[in-house]
């Protein structure tokens, strides 16, 4: 079935460190994945996306890696800042391509 999950519910890092947030998915037919950041009391904010024909995509301070062989996604945040503290969700589309399916999220805490 369709399922998107995250390996760790919480991650604590020091300011300036690099952070890696992991996500496993079960639908091998998934074509498109999105990472969202959600701060307390706000809606999810788009960070970066990747389609299944790519292995890696880079943005500003963020990189998403996709390993289709083991059905694994990761979000790497370089030089993590206190403002990066939030809950991070990976999401994939359902087979109809309409609904996003979210995992439970990883809470990133950055201490200075």
């Amino acid at each position: 079935g369709e399922n998107v999950g995250l390996h760790l519910p919480t991650l604590s890092v020091q300011e300036g460190d690099n952070s890696i947030i992991n996500c496993a998915y079960s639908n091998s037919a998934s074509d498109y994945f999105i990472w969202y950041k959600q701060e307390s009391g706000k809606g999810p904010q788009f960070i970066i996306d990747i389609r299944s024909n790519m292995d890696k995509r880079q943005g500003q301070r963020v990189t998403v890696l996709l390993n289709k062989t083991v059905k694994h996604l990761s979000l790497q945040i370089a030089a993590t800042q206190p403002g990066d503290s939030a809950v991070y969700f990976c999401a994939e589309f359902n087979q109809a391509g309409t609904a996003l399916i979210f995992g439970k999220g990883t809470t990133l805490s950055v201490s200075s």
Partner: protein
């Protein structure tokens, strides 16, 4: 360029009442999806509207209904409210059909007493 907007930001209702939540999509977007997010969980898909029609529905009862207007804005209605309907209701907009990035609004926090 205005992003996705939702109203109201917070709402308190009692069991059995009905509620209407509103969403205006991002400029240039014509598709609106609604999600329910319980505390500590990821958003759960309720339904999606495109060209004023419900395109797909998630695993939610008929008490949840919606509407999309010609200007692409949308409403979510919930009848006969239950305590378990307390959640953050999120609207997301996207462009056209197919797997396009969905951008979320700030949400409406609904508390049912």
């Amino acid at each position: 360029d205005a992003g996705v907007t939702q109203s109201p930001t917070h709402l308190i209702k009692t069991r059995g009442q009905q509620v209407t939540l509103r969403c205006s999509p991002k400029s240039g977007h014509d598709t609106v999806s609604w999600y329910q997010q319980a505390l500590g969980q990821g958003p759960q898909f309720i339904f999606q509207y495109y060209e004023e029609e419900e395109r797909q529905r998630g695993n939610f009862p008929d008490r949840f209904s919606g509407h999309q207007f010609p200007n692409y804005s949308s409403e979510l209605n919930v009848n006969a409210l239950l305590l378990g309907d307390s959640a953050l209701y999120l609207c997301a907009s996207s462009r056209g059909q197919g797997m396009e990035t969905q951008y979320f609004g700030p949400g409406t926090r609904l508390l049912v007493l």
